[in-house]
Symmetry: C2
Subunit: 329 residues, 2 copies
């Protein structure tokens, strides 16, 4: 067993609508082990809490450690969070409303628990472990099924008046554009998320365009069952339709980033999420070029636009950072 002082471990939890991912870290943020469970939101709040607790115990066991060596637990949860009380105010993917996550998980594990929005902890993780010199300002932008963001301003997570800042996916960039899940039209999320990319490919195929993507489908599946990695595969095989639509998503992303540079002028913009993890090679150069094109002259000097390398560990890493910061206070 590795030498770890009592109560020196941190646990980061990435709670999604589909799966729970947990990671055990040293206080220097070295990842020792992970565990994964499906979320099963249909079973209700109490069951999810006990599944999170089990997944935490599994990761600690996997690391050959004891739960009593854990100092604190951080959780990134999808939705609006009351970070003071640790309540999840509203999380449609989990079917939760006013769910006392901190209280119940602290009861289950007898350990301090800290809860934040999932995109906020991802931004925190990227800021803490990926960026040299910990820049004062950073926007984390996460492209997956949806699009979310997290803001680091003056070196700290910025939440704003209702603690909901960073809803970058619902910035309207094309008035009258395609319908978004939020009910509006032309949101960035409705133009460049994985869902939006597949919707546009689907529409093009129905309109007669050729693509090899349908060949990837198993019986009974439709295009919505495919993943960002399938887009990459299709592009590698010369699929011009997929290439074009992914490039357009990259252009929209560049415009969204230019808007953020014009408004917030952050030192870093860091991109992550499933779409970026799979397609950074195809999208980043277009994103960076478009962002500089659209930013006001002079405002973008020295600003770095980069892809995160944390992949699906961004959530557990950021949650561990949250646990470390919060348990220091």
């Amino acid at each position: 067993m590795a030498e770890v002082a009592k109560q020196d471990l941190l646990v980061g939890v990435d709670l999604g609508g589909t799966k729970i991912l947990t990671g055990v870290f040293t206080s220097q943020l070295k990842l020792l082990a992970t565990a994964k469970l499906s979320t099963k939101p249909e079973r209700g709040f109490e069951t999810i809490v006990s599944r999170i607790a089990r997944c935490i115990r599994d990761a600690v066991d996997e690391a050959d450690m004891n739960i009593r060596q854990v100092r604190a637990i951080g959780i990134g949860a999808p939705g609006a969070i009351d970070t003071e009380s640790g309540e999840v105010i509203f999380a449609p993917n989990l079917r939760w409303k006013n769910a006392p996550l901190k209280r119940e998980l602290e009861k289950a594990l007898d350990l301090p628990v800290f809860v934040e929005n999932d995109c906020n902890v991802c931004a925190l993780g990227v800021h803490e472990v990926e960026l040299e010199g910990k820049p004062k300002s950073m926007v984390g932008l996460f492209l997956g099924t949806g699009i979310g963001g997290g803001l680091i301003l003056d070196g700290r997570l910025y939440g704003g008046f209702n603690r909901t800042a960073g809803e970058i996916g619902h910035m309207v960039i094309e008035v009258g554009g395609p319908k978004c899940g939020c009910g509006n039209r032309g949101c960035f999320e409705a133009l460049a998320s994985r869902t939006a990319i597949f919707r546009r490919i689907n529409e093009a195929i129905k309109g007669g365009s050729k693509s090899i993507l349908p060949e990837f489908l198993k019986p009974g599946e439709d295009l919505n069952d495919l993943k960002s990695g399938d887009l990459r595969k299709a592009i590698r095989k010369g699929d011009k339709l997929v290439e074009k639509i992914v490039e357009e998503a990259a252009e929209y992303t560049g415009i969204a980033i230019a808007n953020l540079i014009n408004i917030l002028n952050p030192e870093y913009v860091v991109l992550g999420g499933g779409v970026m993890d799979a397609l950074a090679d195809d999208m980043m150069s277009i994103i960076v070029e478009t962002a500089h094109d659209y930013a006001m002259p002079g405002t973008d000097q020295g600003i770095q636009i980069v892809a995160s390398k944390l992949g699906d560990q961004a959530g557990i890493t950021g949650s561990a950072v949250l646990a470390r910061r919060a348990s220091k206070n």
Copy 2:
């Protein structure tokens, strides 16, 4: 002569491409007197500096005070400012590049001078004198010939990495939309500024729409010579075309504000500038309704969207606030 202790006065300067406006304030920000001069940017930097100095002396004299009673001078200038050195890095309206405004004006008047971006000082003025309880976060949005903004975050002016944050006018909200002065398309400024409103009215008239605006023109003038107040007059006289285009500008403004609420979640959004000063009665209800429509559910709770009542005194007031804050350090 009023009782004012030695060096207890503040001077605020609103430096625009067309006119210089100066105001003398007590340290409690009571306005004692103002003065105005045309800028005459074609005469070059040194002449403008001496015109600013003259306009300051005029206002002090108007207030029956002596320049030796002034503690500090604040200036809001249009463009990118290095607030440390007080240099105006780039101000196309003034034809300036790397203009040492602070240094030269301090030489001319032998008094401390502090320089900031004009929209930033307007935001500072609104925040300091108009809002009760000085909210932690506020966006000031100024609609005039162009559109600019200033951000107060955590109670302080926020400048970002290059000190250019708040370029809200160049947020793209309609990809592929009308051409903007910055070279891009679909910027908020190209859709809702005074210039954009008159351009759209002009296009509609050329397309055969009826408007009474051309009746307001003096010989040799065209629509671009008219002011925001003429739009109000036309609406009061029942001009349906002007009413419709002003309402559309209000909708675009509401969408831009929803974007800011989604991204930054400020406690207050305060609107000012010539367009708002003239047309707040016609635009505000549409702006507020559209902003709440487009903000993500739950994010806009309790957020106030209001029109500033400072009118064209926002600049001198904010510059006086800047002078007070900076000369305290």
